[in-house]
Symmetry: C2
Subunit: 340 residues, 2 copies
């Protein structure tokens, strides 16, 4: 371990995907993933004082963008290896993406999930036909557990973000944003991306570096879990300090991915961090004004905008609402406290 708490003895990194890999992923996903619309709300524009384009990945198959990467990655497993299945680990959205993609491709899936994941995410993952193995977030390593299972089955591990096929799949979300913004005659000054391990963020960054280099891409994270923001500032991957808590269950990864950060350090304009209270206010705004159900981790970009973490006045911004898999009680509580 070095001083920043990140192991330096890792496997050599594969090359990150290039823009053509993302275009190829879009072809692979055609007819499987939803081309989610790019929405605009006059009420939000008026509040922000600029033009805001909203990419609601809550409308994506499985309720988050994660289906994109999972289907793209699993669809590239060679036929001879498919029968042994896939194994993955995830707090919930990647789990559902892998489960749904594997089911579509007729491949068995086993997912290691934290025992305290939202009930809706565990139930949905099982609903797509996957075998779910629960682990204790505090005392067990999900990666180690997944590796043991994969070794037993001879199965392929599908990582949540640090994989070129995953990053390319998530990048298709950025590709749609870039194309849809163009169709709307909008020149994007900035794009705010909800960021956990950095798969969606890096995929979008690769697209915008190619299609719209003027657009500044920001990673948005929960306070206390802003490892990407701090890593960008320090120039190397740093971990989150222990002792923090957040209800953004989808974004609690301990450190940026090695592969995703190799992209993000080159291409991002910076990182923004939001508090749980700001996230609850964004979920309430999404409920009352946008009429969209957004989970905590999916609302951080909107939270950053509404909390004034980025200046939108007179500018054109896009933001992702990256997932909507939230238990009814958590949602109702956030809407109630966020409206107050």
């Amino acid at each position: 371990m070095n001083s920043s708490g990140v192991s330096t003895t890792e496997e050599p990194l594969p090359a990150p995907p290039g823009f053509p890999d993302i275009v190829a992923a879009a072809d692979r996903l055609a007819g499987k993933a939803v081309v989610t619309p790019l929405l605009e709300s006059q009420a939000l524009n008026a509040r922000a004082g600029g033009r805001i384009l909203i990419k609601p990945e809550v409308l994506q198959r499985t309720g988050s963008f994660k289906f994109r990467g999972a289907y793209n990655r699993i669809g590239q497993i060679p036929p001879a290896q498919r029968a042994a299945g896939v194994v993955s680990y995830s707090s919930g959205n990647h789990a559902q993406g892998v489960a749904a993609a594997a089911a579509l491709l007729d491949i068995p899936a086993t997912i290691v999930m934290p025992a305290d994941a939202p009930a809706i995410k565990i139930a949905n993952t099982r609903g797509y036909g996957a075998t779910v193995e629960l682990y204790e977030r505090a005392s067990e390593s999900r990666e180690a557990r997944a590796e043991v299972i994969a070794a037993e089955l001879g199965a392929t591990i599908v990582r949540p973000y640090d994989d070129p096929g995953i990053i390319a799949g998530q990048g298709t979300c950025g590709l749609e944003i870039a194309n849809q913004a163009k169709q709307l005659g909008a020149r994007l000054d900035a794009l705010l991306v909800c960021c956990g391990g950095g798969g969606l963020t890096s995929g979008c960054a690769i697209v915008f570096a190619e299609m719209s280099p003027r657009t500044k891409v920001y990673a948005v994270e929960p306070e206390g879990f802003d490892d990407t923001r701090r890593s960008l500032e320090s120039g190397e991957r740093v971990s989150n300090a222990p002792g923090h808590d957040s209800f953004c269950d989808a974004l609690l990864s301990p450190t940026p991915g090695a592969l995703t950060f190799s992209v993000n350090r080159r291409l991002l304009a910076g990182g923004l961090a939001v508090s749980d209270a700001e996230v609850a206010a964004a979920m309430a705004y999404a409920f009352s004004t946008l009429k969209l159900v957004v989970e905590p981790g999916g609302a951080v970009s909107l939270a950053a905008l509404l909390a004034g973490k980025i200046d939108a006045r007179g500018r054109t911004l896009a933001l992702t609402l990256s997932g909507g898999n939230v238990d009814p009680e958590t949602h109702a509580r956030a809407v109630a406290t966020g409206s107050a």
Copy 2:
């Protein structure tokens, strides 16, 4: 009054709009109303056993389709009459549509609303700059109250549905559905429309009679307020019996509009009715699977589908989610009871 409880001594009816009036309304609304997407959920398709296309008017400006008709109608008021303003009456969604449209056109608006309307609808109507006059639903006539105010101000009354300009505006929703379905390569067997006074339903029916006569158009209403369904069966306008209650506050009109019914009796395939419990289940489904916030009255079409009131197996259907203006408490309660 005749035996069905509907006055027969009414003003002569104006002509209903034709298809060209709806095309003209779409031009008038361009850049003002949202072209809402036509969504498809693989999960809903699988559950219904057919192909279901969802028109989420919850994403429309003001959170319901009502902005379409209001803007189209108010935009046709002659310049000399604009300064005196508009007066309307509504349980809430038409109120917001009129208030927002009038504000955009710089015309003062007064809205007569029931004192027991959802707080969010009253607050939003005031938020758009309209003057709100509350009345008691049980003891007062909102039409009479509106007429007194209009006479005092010399203002134009903007009716919620029985007006050719309103019907043409709401018809633009149907026009979008027909065009978007065509782009998706879908031939619609049926269209389910949430129905109160019948403005949206008749507007859509006019469009489909022209563009896709094979598509059967159904009005969907709350049980006990299924006046359009029963009127279609009896061939003349009948009123709802007293003593019923429903939380579908947007759909509690006592009888079909004279003008809307003159269209609907010719063009509809029939009516469907759903219980409040079926509506709550649909709101819960919209929350958990579609990730859309839908108000009770906006969920009746989805409720009819999920409750099996129409056979979707092997067929292609479209349905409207016509509004999403619901108080957080009502929404949370419906999601909780509807999930059980």
